[in-house]
């Protein structure tokens, strides 16, 4: 049976463009053929999860059934009452399958959980977002088919970008004007071709050509070596171009369907500090964490006056955010250290920014300092990716 993973090869793009053609023609005529869109979505989902991925497909169906019941039960409850404990339980239940999937490899010697499937993390983010906004009373109506369409939106199902329900539905409910849609089509084509450059040329070169070579050299040398430094930069480039390329495909495909899925990357390697970096790197994830974890935690702690000192409060927020992000990547020491590393970097960055604000007149700011800031941030980030890669684990703790 045919199985197609999202954006994996030219064949996928061929089928994708054929499937999108009627949608594009429709939108150019000012019409959105929602039933056809649903059929296309379903067909592409089916092709991801059929054949030897069948078990994952079953897991997906089970997961979606469970989460749909949860969301609608909570929505119904929220129309009448608003107890905090019910909200907490709803969120815990929503992340429960993801937690199981993340923890299973730790206890099963690296084996994947059978309830896992491609994209479970991203679906969970969207669902938790819906529950939180329901709690805040911002989501006033919940339509069964629309929710389903939102969480299973096929261009972004495997790795985001993470959209928000209210934003998505606003696009889905309307048809863009022809002028606007032609502009979107232009962007769509631009994004997809930029994605080709990123994913199939640059990421291929860094990831499939250079990376195996520097990795072999670093392992053969052992310990700390210049090869390890090379590995760090090569891996960072591969990570960026691979993920950014993928995200461009997802956004480009969405645009062709008249949905303005938010961008995921905005030139992250020219960030002037770590804070700036997180506003440019994997943006939909970091904004999700900012809006749904950091701000809510800080809001809660401040309102209840649990932590008085503002600096401590902010730092506590950062540590919580990045630790959760670390665990979300996977329960291994290097993901958690990666999270802590970024939390510390941001805390130090804040100290510096406060210092700079106070002594603005004494600290020089010119072209050189700006370039130096970018250089420093870039190297810090690459070092954090070296931790993230798990290569240090292979190098130091595994026999090879």
């Amino acid at each position: 049976m045919i199985n197609m993973q999202p954006y994996e090869n030219p064949e996928y793009f061929l089928w994708l463009s054929l499937a999108l053609l009627p949608i594009i023609i429709g939108l150019l005529k000012g019409k959105r053929w929602r039933i056809y869109e649903t059929i296309v979505s379903f067909a592409f989902l089916f092709l991801i999860f059929d054949a030897n991925k069948f078990v994952q497909g079953l897991a997906l169906i089970g997961y979606v059934a469970f989460e749909m019941c949860l969301m609608f039960a909570y929505f119904k409850y929220r129309q009448k009452r608003n107890d905090t404990w019910v909200f907490v339980i709803a969120v815990l239940l929503a992340i429960f399958p993801l937690v199981i999937v993340k923890i299973t490899p730790v206890f099963e010697h690296g084996a994947a959980s059978i309830i896992g499937f491609l994209g479970i993390s991203y679906l969970t983010f969207k669902i938790v977002g819906i529950i939180m906004e329901t709690r805040d009373g911002m989501i006033k109506s919940l339509d069964f088919l629309k929710v389903l369409h939102f969480i299973l939106f096929f261009p972004t199902i495997s790795s985001g970008p993470i959209d928000r329900y209210r934003r998505f539905i606003k696009d889905y409910d309307t048809v863009p004007s022809v002028e606007k849609y032609v502009n979107m089509l232009g962007k769509s084509v631009h994004y997809i071709f930029l994605g080709f450059l990123y994913k199939f040329i640059l990421a291929y070169y860094f990831g499939s050509v250079l990376l195996p070579q520097v990795s072999a050299l670093a392992l053969a040398h052992g310990g700390i070596s210049w090869y390890l430094v090379e590995y760090m930069y090569v891996y960072s480039m591969d990570l960026f171009f691979d993920f950014a390329g993928y995200s461009l495909f997802a956004v480009g495909t969405s645009y062709a369907m008249g949905i303005e899925t938010p961008m995921n990357f905005n030139l992250p390697f020219i960030s002037k500090n770590i804070k700036d970096f997180w506003n440019r790197w994997h943006m939909t994830l970091s904004f999700w964490f900012r809006d749904y974890i950091y701000m809510r935690l800080v809001f809660f702690l401040m309102k209840k006056k649990l932590v008085k000192n503002k600096v401590n409060l902010a730092n506590l927020g950062y540590l919580t955010l990045f630790l959760i992000m670390g665990f979300w990547h996977g329960v291994t020491w290097y993901y958690i250290v990666y999270g802590l590393f970024h939390a510390c970097a941001i805390i130090i960055c804040d100290v510096w920014l406060r210092f700079k604000k106070k002594h603005r007149d004494k600290i020089p700011s010119n072209r050189f300092t700006k370039i130096f800031a970018i250089f420093l941030t870039f190297n810090l980030v690459c070092f954090s990716f070296l931790i993230f890669s798990g290569f240090l684990n292979t190098l130091f703790f595994m026999k090879h």
Partner: protein, 79 residues
């Protein structure tokens, strides 16, 4: 109402700039960050009596003093 909001912003950003330029982008200039935003929401709640949950907060709709004033006015009118 306008003055109350501006005073809160001066307080939070530690700068008079928000009074001088009502269209300054608070996030791009670094005057306000997530922490400041949360404080802003809490201050607005206690000083102006508007209850704005975090979900309400969409950065592009709250990024200049003028936009914030307009938002708050709209919300007090709803009361």
């Amino acid at each position: 109402m306008k003055d109350t909001v501006l005073n809160i912003l001066v307080d939070l950003t530690g700068s008079d700039e928000v009074k001088k330029d009502l269209d300054v982008n608070l996030f791009e200039t670094g005057l306000l960050d997530s922490m400041g935003t949360v404080q802003l929401l809490l201050e607005l709640e206690s000083e102006c009596g508007v209850d704005a949950p975090v979900s309400e907060f969409e950065r592009s709709e709250w990024d200049t003093p003028n936009k914030i004033i307009a938002k708050v006015e709209a919300m007090t009118n709803e009361l």
